[in-house]
């Protein structure tokens, strides 16, 4: 996944930097698009192994609520995507020539919040998509309409923090992200058991 992130960054660099374009205003969008595409890639794989080797039945034998499987998968996906972000985000700043002028705490918080909501929705829908034909191709279509508020919130918050003009105060976007995250961790958690019923 890290390699994929680097590839995306490189392509963006070749495509945009070479033309002498200042990427500052569009950088937040580029950054989050990259994160979400790399994330979709990883999410797709989180259930494909379960499906192909039929290990989900074994997991369900655990004497606990089925929704714990969801939490476990969510945690795993968060860790993986988080590691990718730790490496890839600074690299994107460097390779695309955008100065980092944001307060680190809020910036990290925005990245975390933007990732949590995405991973939660994505984990639920990855479980759904894994059991369909052409599951991995279906996942982006399933995930994208649902995460629109998270994308807007994350990009606007990042833009505000990096000093982009006209994004408004970053706190309102963090509020949106936080509310979205709460809603879309709880709801998938509650309905997950219906997805993995045999």
């Amino acid at each position: 996944m890290i390699i994929f992130a680097l590839v995306v960054t490189t392509v963006l660099g070749f495509g945009c930097r070479g033309a002498g374009v200042d990427l500052g205003p569009v950088f937040p969008g580029l950054m989050w698009v990259s994160i979400y595409f790399v994330g979709l890639f990883g999410l797709g794989r989180s259930f494909s192994a379960e499906k192909s080797q039929d290990t989900l039945a074994g997991l369900r034998l655990v004497p606990a609520d089925a929704s714990f499987i969801f939490l476990a998968k969510l945690a795993a996906n968060l860790i993986f995507l988080g590691l990718v972000e730790v490496v890839a985000v600074p690299l994107m700043f460097v390779m695309l020539g955008v100065p980092f002028r944001a307060p680190l705490g809020p910036f990290a918080a925005v990245v975390v919040l933007g990732t949590v909501g995405f991973c939660s929705v994505g984990t639920l829908l990855a479980a759904l998509a894994a059991h369909t034909r052409a599951g991995e191709m279906l996942l982006p279509l399933l995930v994208f309409p649902i995460i629109v508020p998270a994308v807007i919130g994350a990009v606007q918050a990042t833009s505000a923090l990096l000093g982009g003009a006209g994004a408004g105060g970053w706190t309102r976007w963090v509020g949106l992200l936080a509310a979205y995250d709460v809603l879309f961790v709880v709801v998938p958690w509650l309905v997950f058991e219906y997805i993995i019923e045999p």
Partner: protein
């Protein structure tokens, strides 16, 4: 058709004719936008039904998860398809209106963008149904996705509205002052299209019931043939 459905069909026919007359002839043209404003009546009516259909999918999904009866899934399927139809009309008429009012085929305006996201949700739901064969699983996935997506709809709308209010659109959405004749046309259009939704819903559900029956008959016939050949 049953007599009830036949009566409904006639009612829809009359209602849509009335809406066409009121919207295209009777109501006055808008002071600012002129005749092109008339598309509003059918755009709003379609968009409203797109949302209504999704609400039905939401409720039907919960009902299915609670009861496990596939009748609810039949309702969800029908409502999703008809809803996608109305949402398509809403987005296309919205785009046409944008072109005539603002000169561009597309604008990231809250309602138009939200309608487009709704369209994508429907598409995702319908495509998922295509890719799952087992009826129980298909019903469950439809229910879960419909549930999650519907909860998201107001969040999507609000977030897009916030986003657009921060970047004020240079071309303002046309302010429509609705005089009484226009209100009448709008209400008639909305009612007529809602009845149309109900009619199409019933027809689609009946079609699905017939398809299920045909599949069952084929299966029985096949089993009987195999029994005879043995």
């Amino acid at each position: 058709m049953t007599r009830g459905r036949s009566a409904l069909a006639w009612l829809v026919f009359a209602g849509v004719l009335a809406a066409l007359f009121l919207g295209l002839v009777y109501a006055p043209p808008d002071a600012v936008l002129g005749e092109t404003q008339r598309i509003l009546y059918f755009h709003v009516a379609s968009a409203w039904n797109g949302l209504l259909a999704f609400l039905v999918v939401f409720v039907g999904g919960i009902a299915y998860l609670a009861t496990g009866r596939l009748d609810w899934d039949r309702l969800n399927l029908a409502s999703a398809e008809v809803g996608e139809l109305f949402t398509t009309v809403a987005v296309v008429t919205g785009s046409i209106w944008a072109r005539s009012a603002w000169g561009v085929w597309w604008e990231w305006e809250p309602r138009l963008t939200s309608a487009f996201v709704l369209w994508l949700m429907y598409a995702a739901l319908l495509l998922t149904r295509r890719l799952v064969e087992e009826p129980g699983r298909r019903a469950r996935y439809t229910a879960v996705f419909g549930l999650v997506a519907f909860i998201d709809v107001p969040v999507v709308f609000m977030s897009i509205r916030w986003w657009r209010s921060v970047h004020p659109v240079v071309i303002q959405a046309g302010q429509i002052n609705l005089e009484p004749p226009m209100v009448l046309a709008l209400v008639t259009a909305v009612l007529a299209f809602t009845l149309l939704y109900v009619l199409l819903l019933g027809m689609r559900m009946r079609l699905d019931a017939l398809e299920t029956r045909v599949a069952e008959l084929k299966r029985l016939w096949r089993e009987r043939r195999e029994g005879e050949l043995r």
